[in-house]
Amino acid sequence: MALTADQQRGRCFSSPGTPTHDYTDGDWVPFTHHRYKILAHFWEQLGTTIKSTTPQNYGRCDRVTPNRILYEWQPHRCRLDQFSVQGVCEVLRGKSLLMVGDSTVFQLWLSFALLLGAQLGKNVKKASTVSEITASACGDATRLAFVRNDLVLYTSNVGDLMSAKRCDGFLSMQVTYPECMLIARCVPAPRVTYALSAPLSAC
């Protein structure tokens, strides 16, 4: 069987992170097969209070322009590997993947889970913000989890997280908590302390 022009081009990466060709020279080309759509009832299934009109509804484009064209990047001199559920599942089989971050990282997690056709669980609480959620992918051989932490603040002490939240709340309440007067001092593990008065060298 003759190779297509796309197949004749070499792969852009010989291994992850090692480009073999200039993949930045190329064009956006229409991508015809939509892999997933987020419809309004999706958020209720996730156990959230997100409605079709709220900002957290990332599927708004699917609702407003259901037949819009999507695009993918096609380099001129090489080819990028297509996203393959089988390929991803081979790599992640028997593994657990955790993503931590803010709402933009949740979008990344959600897109990845939906691309894999994962079975999504429910949000840890019924709210408009997805704070903790898990999903099962690859025939239940891969676990995907997301935890919302806007500062990616690692601590084994819940009190530290409460301190940061209190500092965040004070911004709206306009109540002065001296320890909250801007953020950030890192003291030796495992505690993270928030204080204005701390010298930067303390970190």
Partner: protein
């Protein structure tokens, strides 16, 4: 002043240190938004432009210090839990670059169009938060490479 607290901070230590084979950490838009508000508060009614120099320095220092703290303790904890090559199993995702007025575009735009829309946005809307993204991505790239032996920074 913002109507209510914006930070969402769930604990992820045990999952990240013990349970997960691969951990993806993302520093994102809320990070700069929250710090901007903190800096605004420091400046009083006149906002960030009048914030004390010390506060602005701490603002700039927050991400490198916080990220260094998180990576240091996460790597150590994962090693303690027996994860082989703990550092290599942690990925860091930087802040995505927003496109001004992206709802106007129905197809990918050129770099020149991006620059124009960005300039128009800067001309009409004061958005220091956007300016922070590039700087914070540099910081987020530096910390893993310089302090934790990462193979490649954010690109």
């Amino acid at each position: 002043m913002h109507a209510d607290g914006v930070l969402s901070l769930q604990s992820f230590a045990v999952r990240a240190a013990r349970d997960a084979d691969i951990v993806v950490l993302g520093v994102g838009h809320h990070f700069t938004g929250s710090l901007d508000m903190a800096l605004d508060y420091q400046g009083g009614p006149s906002g960030a432009k009048r914030a004390p120099l010390r506060a602005r320095l701490q603002y700039n220092a927050f991400l490198p210090f916080s990220l260094n703290h998180t990576l240091t303790h996460l790597i150590a904890a994962r090693e303690a839990y027996g994860h082989a090559d703990a550092a290599a199993s942690i990925l860091l995702v930087g802040i995505s670059s927003p496109v001004a007025g992206c709802s106007r575009f129905r197809a990918p735009i050129s770099l020149a169009q991006y620059a124009t829309s960005h300039y128009e946005h800067r001309r009409t809307v004061d958005s220091p938060m956007w300016l922070s993204y590039a700087r914070l991505n540099v910081a987020a790239s530096y910390v893993p490479c310089a302090r934790h032996g990462a193979l490649a920074g954010l690109s």
